[in-house]
Chain length 159, copies 2
DNA sequence: GTCATACTACTCGGATAAGAACTGTCCGAGTGGGGTAGG
DNA sequence: CCTACCCCACTCGGACAGTTCTTATCCGAGTAGTATGAC
């Protein structure tokens, strides 16, 4: 069980977009250059964020990506879900249906104790991710590295 | 990000072992027959549980698997970790090292705010799994389906 | 000088391969029990 | 009848393919800006 590394890329890219000049679109090439990432593949991840309504995109000259809404309204869970999909990590195959006393009509995704226990853990995970927004991370970084917004904008301008 | 289905198999198999006659080893064939699972592949998962110290195994006639310790001392996290590995789902690649102002000597798995946020969520997940033991699940199932222990032992005897 | 038009460079978007991980399968190593022969 | 030995069936254990998902890449569709020419 390992998360796609695209999640890390997406989160950092969203943060950089949050620091970008307002009203300016940032190209995939620029976002990739930040951390020397493969441009085309990062572009794929950004497309997923667009489909999820987290980013907006524009083609042609002066095109690129920008945040679709205020960073306070973008939870980390939104970004993770956009990349990884909404399905749960633990996928109950309802093997109890084949077991002794198993009924084909019962929904074991709800009835199975094992499934319930695993779901409870995953809900706790999602709750933590839903509780934190891009704006929260932005504030935390800026309190540690006050020059980050300035440096980010400079880097975007010089690419 | 999807968990191996072996986790579901392992959890249910451990529960069945907890219900088995004490002092009796259960063969992989029997555990597989419970839910019509592929024997050889389930065997592979059981071996992982043995390596993790959750089960003990014996070869030869009258051989098979049994729980290595009391179900109260086996947390769900132990089983999940045995199958999935101990590494975290979110793997911080420390891409900040390549970024503006990035220092190669800094351990960004600890310093990076994004990494911290993701780790916090994963710790919440692990905490939930560590808080529940096989014995807890056993009790919950028995209160809903009191005949489960009896039926399990019968099924083992008839295979 | 102004406006419309065609062109060109640019950027995203989806379709297309390479690689890794998960899933599934097989045969050999080692063990324990039962049968057999000798005392 | 008891005991020691040998043989055999049995079970796990690790090595070996098939399939799905992740990672990586490329080229085409569409757009905005610019230059050009006519009015």
């Amino acid at each position: 069980m390992q998360m796609s590394e695209g999640v890390e890329w997406a989160l950092h890219s969203c943060l950089n977009l949050a620091w970008a000049e307002e009203g300016t679109a940032v190209k995939a090439t620029q976002l990739a250059a930040f951390y020397e990432l493969p441009t085309a593949y990062l572009n794929k991840q950004l497309q997923a964020l667009v489909r999820a309504g987290i980013l907006t995109s524009a083609t042609g000259p002066r095109g690129g990506f920008r945040l679709a809404r205020d960073p306070r309204d973008i939870a980390l869970l939104d970004v993770v879900t956009a990349i990884e999909g909404a399905q749960e990590a633990f996928r109950c195959q309802e093997i109890l249906k084949k077991g002794p006393g198993g009924r084909a009509t019962v929904d074991y995704r709800k009835a199975c104790i094992v499934s319930q226990a695993m779901r409870r853990a995953e809900i706790a995970w999602r709750r933590e991710l839903a509780a934190q927004t891009l704006a929260d991370l932005k504030v935390q970084v800026e309190s540690k590295q006050p020059r980050t917004p300035e440096m980010t904008r400079q880097r975007i301008a010089n690419l």
